[in-house]
Symmetry: C2
Subunit: 195 residues, 2 copies
């Protein structure tokens, strides 16, 4: 891996774990054993690194949901796979919160110009979920339901981070999965859709 990509990867990790503002060039440089000057060769400003981190997250997230499409037989299972991200990444989320939510929250307080770019991460999930609902012929309420699931995962992440309670996470993930079943039961058609 080249130096530029290494910088982006470590920055990505630190921005998540320590926050954007609280991460310094020195933190990143020390971790990679590179000099400040080398740094400056690849990126002019810290904001530029943030842009690249967001770009990479968008790419990785897109790959992730693409895989969810392939790995699951139907939209219900896919939506549950989304919700269960809280279980798969439980320890990280309890320690640092949701990578998307906490970044958007921080950039909002900083009134940072990359706010809209970070929000695209939310929109990617939202758009993907709308598509899942569409596949079982839920159209009118598709966006409302997608936003609802997005809301739930964010709420879970914030509370999980503050309370660090595994049982809470498991209970609420189960709740959300039940909610998916109920909505599909009530509004869904073509439920065995295998596309």
């Amino acid at each position: 891996m080249n130096t530029r990509d290494k910088i982006i990867n470590i920055a990505d990790k630190f921005f998540y774990e320590k926050g954007f503002e609280n991460t310094s060039f020195a933190d990143i440089a020390a971790n990679l054993n590179i000099s400040r000057g080398n740094f400056y060769h690849h990126f002019k400003t810290k904001d530029e690194i943030l842009d690249e981190v967001i770009k990479q997250r968008l790419k990785n997230t897109q790959n992730m949901v693409d895989n969810w499409d392939l790995e699951n037989e139907n939209p219900a299972a896919r939506l549950k796979t989304f919700v269960k991200i809280l279980i798969r990444n439980q320890s990280k989320i309890m320690e640092f919160g949701c990578p998307v939510g906490t970044l958007c929250t921080e950039l909002s307080k900083l009134n940072h110009k990359a706010q809209n770019d970070a929000n695209e991460l939310f929109i990617l999930f939202q758009t993907w979920m709308v598509r899942q609902f569409n596949q079982i012929e839920i159209y009118e309420n598709a966006n409302k339901h997608a936003m609802h699931l997005l809301m739930r995962t964010q709420g879970m992440a914030v509370i999980a981070n503050a309370f660090r309670d595994e049982n809470f996470v498991q209970t609420e993930v189960d709740n959300a999965c039940s909610w998916i079943d109920e909505i599909i039961e009530k509004e869904g058609k073509n439920v065995r859709n295998l596309s």
Copy 2:
């Protein structure tokens, strides 16, 4: 109002709007027309200001829920009053998120020693909601339900802050109120409790 209280008030506002770390003494001093050095007559460190801000928030929050107890006739109405805080403070929440959630999130990233103190704000709401459920003779699930409502409000705040969509907030507040009705319908007894 004395200088000390003025400092706490402005710090409270800025910690919410700009974040704790991103708020400098210069910001506060400029706003109050006092000198930076003057701070240290009243507080030993910046962390000490944070402690006082949290103390004040706890006091104000306690007063708020005490009023909710007086102003509403029954637990269902009280719980809905809690949820509707998202409507009453809509514009602030869309701009800055939830004061409690965003503070806890930030302190978590900073690994700040005041984390537990800030979490007490969550616990205050949680305890209060448990009491509401108890009043309609919901005991076993009281805590689960309280955490669920806490989760929903946090999720709403994060998404409201990122998407800045008033309709989303209204829809989800209505959803949460319906959820309260359903739970009480299913599990509650002594529903007309006027205590």
